[in-house]
């Protein structure tokens, strides 16, 4: 039977969207999870994948044409199946076009299907399984409210609203931590905490240089990121992953350097472990205000192609950073596992930052410094106005969100000065 490729609903308020770019044409064969098209919504560009394997047929909608959510844009035919006469979109089952709040028209995503395989024995309705599959949600973390604990669509919708259960479940709690040993330690031990979608390797640009200058440098892959298998099923899980890294590091008080979401994670960890943390430096921190580029966060969480990843990376810096195809491939394969989807929903809701750290900051006793690039396109630097007046702020006129990529020497200089 021909499988419909529909214009998915990617957030509750979405009523229509358009194809930004078709990645396939009629007659192409696809595997489940292959990129089929990129979609414009009013907020961002999203990728939509093939829900199953087969031959693309019946593409009738041109790029850029606004369509209602649930509109059938193309079909996937099984081998040997005949062409489908496209149905008029008005005839799409009413669920997909009415204002009904059931998210039946949610995206067609399934890639690596986290609701299968390792979840034998879970009681869930077929609809709950499908919704979870499409949202990249793991059913194992959910509690069912139905008879005998059965998970139904309502439970999945609640989980999606609160961000529980995102990503594949793993029992491996080992954290991966990069280490640049000091060449003759003369300075602090630095722990560099990456931002959303990053990992320890994000710090390559300054890690080695800092080590040369006498810092002992560590950079963990936080929960839900990089090679750390532990999933980020809540903000606190991410914080806990940093705390377990800090607890395992040798040496005395640490200087924590957090970037963006990593800054927020570092603030919360510093609050929990006041004696362990000597100093906190926040680069373009998340959690000081409400504004954020939601399209970037969602886009990165959903990205499947290295083209999309590169386009998103370009938003992070003022300088044009040369990424090798290999680097892009690794980043794409990391984000395309869908591990960031749940976290993205926790960090940004209704277009705004949803976790606020000013109260935590005010409660810290260690020295805190904030550095922002005024060219930041992800989080506006003006959020520094919300900081307590005791916290010094440095603004870099030539830096975007990734200060350590745009101004690595300036940053290492500042860190050197701070730890002097």
């Amino acid at each position: 039977m021909a499988v419909e490729i529909i214009l998915p609903r990617v957030d509750m308020a979405m009523e229509s969207g358009s194809v930004a770019r078709w990645a396939v044409k009629n007659g192409d064969s696809v595997k489940a999870g292959d990129l089929v098209f990129e979609m414009n919504t009013d907020k961002s560009v999203m990728e939509v994948e093939a829900p199953s394997a087969g031959i693309i047929s019946g593409i009738t909608v041109d790029e850029g044409v606004e369509m209602p959510v649930g509109a059938v844009l193309a079909y996937i035919l099984a081998p040997g199946e005949s062409e489908v006469t496209p149905r008029p979109n008005a005839a799409v089952p009413a669920i997909k076009t009415t204002a009904d709040s059931k998210p039946n028209g949610r995206s067609t995503i399934p890639s690596d299907d986290p609701s299968r395989g390792d979840e034998d024995g879970i009681r869930a309705t077929p609809l709950a399984r499908r919704l979870a599959r499409e949202a990249g949600l793991s059913l194992a973390a959910l509690e069912g409210t139905g008879p005998r604990g059965r998970i139904d669509s309502g439970d999945v919708q609640n989980a999606l609203a609160t961000g529980r259960g995102q990503g594949p479940i793993s029992g491996d709690a080992t954290l991966k931590i990069r280490h640049w040993p000091a060449e003759g330690q003369t300075r602090d031990t630095l722990v560099l905490v990456h931002g959303f979608g990053g990992n320890g390797a994000t710090w390559e640009a300054i890690g080695g240089d800092l080590a040369k200058r006498g810092f002992n440098v560590y950079a963990p892959d936080l929960a839900g990121h990089g090679r750390t298998a532990l999933e980020a099923d809540s903000f606190e899980t991410v914080v806990a992953s940093l705390e377990s890294c800090l607890a395992n590091l040798p040496g005395g008080p640490l200087h924590l350097v957090g970037h963006s979401m990593g800054a927020a994670v570092a603030i919360r960890a510093a609050r929990h472990l006041p004696r362990k943390i000597a100093r906190l430096t926040l680069l373009a921190p998340y959690g000081l205000g409400t504004q954020i580029d939601e399209g970037f966060i969602r886009g990165l969480a959903m990205a499947k192609s290295s083209e999309s990843v590169l386009a998103l990376l370009r938003l992070l810096t003022v300088r044009t950073i040369g990424y090798s195809p290999r680097q892009l491939e690794i980043m794409t394969s990391e984000v395309s596992q869908g591990r960031l989807i749940g976290l993205s929903k926790l960090l940004v809701a209704n277009g705004q930052q949803s976790i606020h750290l000013l109260a935590d900051l005010a409660a810290l006793s260690c020295p805190v410094d904030v550095i922002f690039g005024v060219m930041d396109r992800i989080i506006p630097w003006q959020h520094v106005a919300h900081l307590p007046p005791t916290i010094p702020v440095r603004l870099l006129s030539e830096a975007g969100h990734m200060i350590h990529l745009d101004e690595p020497e300036v940053l290492t200089g500042v860190l050197e000065k701070l730890s002097a």
């Binding site: 089952p93 669920i95 309705t125 077929p126 609809l127 399984r129 139905g146 139904d152 669509s153």
Partner: protein, 340 residues
């Protein structure tokens, strides 16, 4: 009167289910001299349930034939007449008596077109009063449509309204293959608007009687009527049920059911026949095998007849088949608690 596109109008008036069937017979016999009817007591007596009424006075004893009490014989006569160019409409007094005529219907009427490579056909219609509720006890109250729905070569319909009773009978008479019509005894006196002119209700097409979003209730014949009444009561509790009147058991319009399940995510199937190995099992399995499966948010629930010969005692008789209250309760449990 109802305006149709092009300013054509359709004249309607209220008829009972029995009158609608008689009108279909009249119009078919007036239009086609090969149409005739035969059965026990259908002549001067007017039929066990008064359906044929005065047809004998209008069309004479040659076309409204009173037969001996011998179901196998008269079914054989009807099959033979159909094979040789006539269009017989056979009435059995109670659908239970089809057990006697089964050889002719299952082994002959259903098979002949296939065994003769399409060179012969059996344009036979069998009309039968079916179902419980009249105190007619175990041998006169069964719902055997699933038996015959199992046989390739037969078509099986179950009208619920006077409109469909007329339209399905006319469609059945047109059909070049054998069609069995299970008419519910309790519906004969129910009234509804029926167009004056001849028209056809397509065999094999279900109809959504009431659109809704919370649960799909599928039934046919009197169960479609009870399901609609139940849906109105459920609406007062905030449960918006979609009611599908199946109308035909074979061929079955599964697409209408699938589309509804994709919308509501819950399915309740109501039927008077015994629950086990019945129409509900077929619908349930078809949904489970279809792409609608991935839209189910609760188990499929069958509300069928009890596993007993129908009792004579009127209280037990009622308890043996789904009633309006049962449908309301089952739908409420399914929507609220997600279980049968």
């Amino acid at each position: 009167m109802l305006e149709k596109p092009g300013n054509e109008t359709i004249d309607f008036r209220e008829l009972t289910y029995a009158e609608a069937i008689r009108e279909a017979m009249t119009q078919a016999m007036e239009a086609d001299p090969t149409v005739f009817t035969l059965g026990e007591d259908i002549g001067t007596y007017g039929g066990a349930f008064g359906v044929t009424g005065d047809l004998i006075h209008r069309f004479g004893a040659e076309r409204v034939i009173d037969t001996p009490i011998a179901e196998l014989g008269i079914a054989g006569a009807a099959v033979g007449a159909a094979l040789t160019g006539m269009k017989p409409v056979l009435e059995l007094q109670f659908s239970d008596f089809i057990t006697l005529a089964t050889e002719q219907i299952v082994n002959q009427a259903a098979k002949i077109r296939f065994m003769f490579g399409g060179k012969a056909s059996v344009p036979l219609v069998v009309r039968m009063p079916a179902g419980s509720g009249t105190g007619a006890a175990a041998q006169h109250s069964q719902s055997l449509e699933a038996w015959f729905g199992h046989i390739p070569g037969l078509k099986v319909v179950q009208p619920s309204t006077p409109h469909d009773a007329k339209g399905l009978l006319l469609a059945a008479i047109d059909d070049p293959n054998p069609v069995l019509i299970f008419e519910h005894k309790l519906l004969y006196k129910t009234k509804g608007l029926v167009p004056v002119d001849a028209y056809r209700v397509p065999i094999g097409k279900a109809i959504v009687r009431r659109p809704g979003k919370d649960v799909t209730i599928v039934g046919s014949s009197i169960m479609a009527i009870r399901a609609q009444a139940a849906a109105e009561r459920l609406a007062t509790e905030g449960i918006d049920a979609e009611v599908i009147d199946l109308r035909s058991v074979r061929p079955m319009d599964t697409e209408t059911i699938f589309a509804s399940v994709r919308k509501t995510s819950r399915l309740l199937i109501v039927y008077e026949g015994v629950k086990t190995l019945g129409v509900g099992a077929e619908i349930s399995a078809a949904v489970a095998e279809s792409d609608a499966f991935d839209y189910l948010d609760a188990p499929i629930v069958r509300l069928g007849g009890q596993e007993v010969p129908l009792p004579y005692n009127p209280v037990l008789e009622k308890a043996a088949v789904p009633q309006e209250d049962d449908i309301v309760n089952a739908a409420r449990r399914l929507v609220r608690d997600g279980r049968a």
